[in-house]
């Protein structure tokens, strides 16, 4: 079991994330349609195409070049999520070089989170990607403090991200949307938060986790 994330792993991580996102794209667009303007899937898919175009070949890949490509791809995308993901990836990328240790990754994720919160002004509970990203970042920190392996740490981050994403289904109801969609709102997860969970799940998968990650947000009830 490797103690760092090298270029090959990072490359595999982004590739797996792209695969699972593509699988979920329509579902996430539907979620954005229910609570936003319905362009989420298109925005992220176009970012991922852009990432794919500039992703280094596996042989040349380093941790930093892979996540820098991710950052640039997202920063070249419209919508709110594009630039925020882009800045988050930028901090992730800059936390390592050829490869990153768990503690470097943890620092990158945390400082990316701080930037996204600074730029977007959202806190946990505001029903955004922050609701998944903040618990995932905390889980990584705990894992690093407990000297867990990278694979274990990413699995914990993924689980924390999932439950954070799931919490947004309730949040909507809590914050008054129930007044016009009532129980239908249950399960309308924030697509940005789900995407964060997908990202960490992909990381866990490529570092050897045997968890199965059931689809999030399938119970969505279209209005």
């Amino acid at each position: 079991m490797s103690t760092t994330i090298d270029g090959t792993t990072a490359h595999a991580w982004i590739t797996e994330f792209t695969r699972t996102f593509t699988h979920a794209q329509q579902r996430l667009t539907d979620l954005d349609r229910l609570a936003g303007d319905g362009d989420f899937g298109t925005n992220i898919a176009s970012a991922l195409r852009r990432v794919d175009n500039i992703l280094p070949a596996t042989a040349d890949a380093t941790y930093r070049t892979v996540f820098t490509a991710a950052s640039l791809g997202f920063l070249g995308t419209g919508g709110t999520s594009g630039p925020l993901f882009g800045m988050w990836f930028r901090h992730v990328a800059r936390s390592g070089n050829d490869s990153a240790t768990l503690s470097e990754l943890t620092d990158g994720v945390a400082s990316g989170l701080a930037t996204v919160q600074y730029l977007g002004g959202a806190k946990v509970g505001d029903n955004t990607m922050i609701d998944a990203l903040a618990p995932a970042a905390d889980a990584l920190k705990d894992a690093a403090a407990s000297h867990l392996s990278i694979a274990e740490a990413l699995e914990k981050a993924a689980l924390a991200g999932r439950s954070g994403a799931l919490s947004t289904g309730d949040l909507i109801a809590k914050r008054g949307r129930a007044s016009y969609v009532g129980e239908l709102a249950r399960g309308v997860l924030d697509p940005g938060a789900v995407t964060i969970a997908l990202f960490f799940e992909a990381g866990a998968t490529v570092t050897g986790s045997s968890q199965l990650w059931p689809e999030l947000g399938t119970e969505v009830t279209t209005q």
């Binding site: 920063l75 070249g76 995308t77 419209g78 594009g82 630039p83 882009g86 800045m87 930037t115 730029l119």
Partner: protein, 333 residues
């Protein structure tokens, strides 16, 4: 019978084709980077603060038409009514850097603010000094609540003109940014329209009005205004724009102003002159002097048949900045 057809090829190509056409029209002034939708000076300036602005398209001649000596160094164009990406703005900010730092002039819209701010960070990481002036002049979107704040509209012209003059004269970045913020603080705009605008490729306008209604307090993205007022003669409508501006800015007798009577795209010259005439009358009646003014379509909302009026409480320094030489496709003196 359709009255909303347009001279376009494909909606998706509108911006790239229009930028090509613009660059071909002003080869002595403008250079085009088609891949990032950037318009910049064909002879980049050095040793001065660079000015970059931009935002969604559909507001032409803003911003690309204001690139040139004495105004912008770079304009970044997004899709119609959609912010350019952080990467585009980053490229534009880098391009605008002539060694003395870059001033970003940003109209207050969530997407623009986000992408310009990110671009500023990226550029700062590259070692570029960046400051930002946020233009939020639209009185109609003023609100006590902590929302996104007032929208940025036609006062951006005044900011770009005066900051551009200072930059050309060699002022440093903090000075220019401070003056820009001062111009914003002294500027307010109000707009109304007789018709909604029609997006390229659509055949009907974003909203329609009854013959006895005017949409009051519109922005520049085709959105509805803050309310509807009765249709009336140009003089009466003009007064309904001017009076709240005067009051909101607290303009007193003897105060000189810089004024912009701005067509929103579908308003034709006779109408704008008639509105300008009444603006002069109303201000004169209050002892306010129109020191300088522009009358034309500068900050549009596609083909919207509306008008905005912008007033800036001026002083000798601002007027000197306004009067300084400028050479762009849209403004030259």
């Amino acid at each position: 019978m359709s009255t909303h057809r347009q001279f376009i090829n494909q909606p998706d190509h509108v911006i790239s084709e229009a930028l090509e056409g613009l660059a071909a029209t002003y080869p002595h002034l403008l250079a085009l980077d088609a891949s990032a939708s950037l318009i910049s000076r064909v002879h980049p300036a050095h040793e001065k603060v660079g000015l970059v602005s931009g935002g969604g398209s559909g507001h032409e001649p803003l911003h690309a038409g204001l690139v040139g000596t004495g105004m912008l160094d770079v304009a970044v164009a997004g899709a119609v009514f959609a912010s350019p990406t952080a990467q585009q703005v980053h490229a534009g900010t880098t391009l605008a850097d002539g060694g003395a730092g870059v001033l970003q002039i940003v109209k207050n819209y969530t997407g623009d603010v986000l992408n310009f701010q990110i671009a500023a960070e990226l550029a700062a990481d590259d070692g570029t000094m960046v400051e930002s002036v946020l233009v939020d002049d639209d009185l109609a979107s003023d609100s006590e609540n902590d929302g996104p704040g007032r929208r940025g509209t036609a006062a951006v012209i005044t900011v770009e003109k005066i900051c551009g003059a200072l930059a050309e004269q060699g002022a440093d970045l903090p000075t220019i940014a401070a003056v820009g913020r001062n111009v914003v603080a002294r500027s307010r705009t109000l707009a109304l329209t007789l018709d909604g605008c029609t997006h390229p490729g659509e055949i009907s306008p974003a909203f329609t009005l009854n013959a006895n209604e005017v949409e009051f307090g519109v922005g520049i993205h085709g959105e509805r205004g803050t309310g509807r007022i009765p249709f009336a003669a140009a003089d009466a409508l003009t007064e309904q724009l001017v009076t709240p501006l005067v009051e909101s800015l607290g303009l007193k007798t003897g105060q000189p102003v810089i004024a912009i009577v701005n067509g929103l795209g579908g308003t034709y010259p006779l109408e704008l002159s008639i509105i300008a005439r009444r603006m002069h009358e109303v201000l004169r009646g209050r002892g306010i002097t129109v020191a300088r003014s522009l009358v034309g379509s500068y900050v549009t909302s596609l083909d919207m048949h509306g008008v905005s009026i912008t007033l800036t409480a001026a002083d000798d320094n601002l007027i000197a900045g306004w009067d300084a030489p400028v050479r762009t496709p849209t403004l030259t003196w």
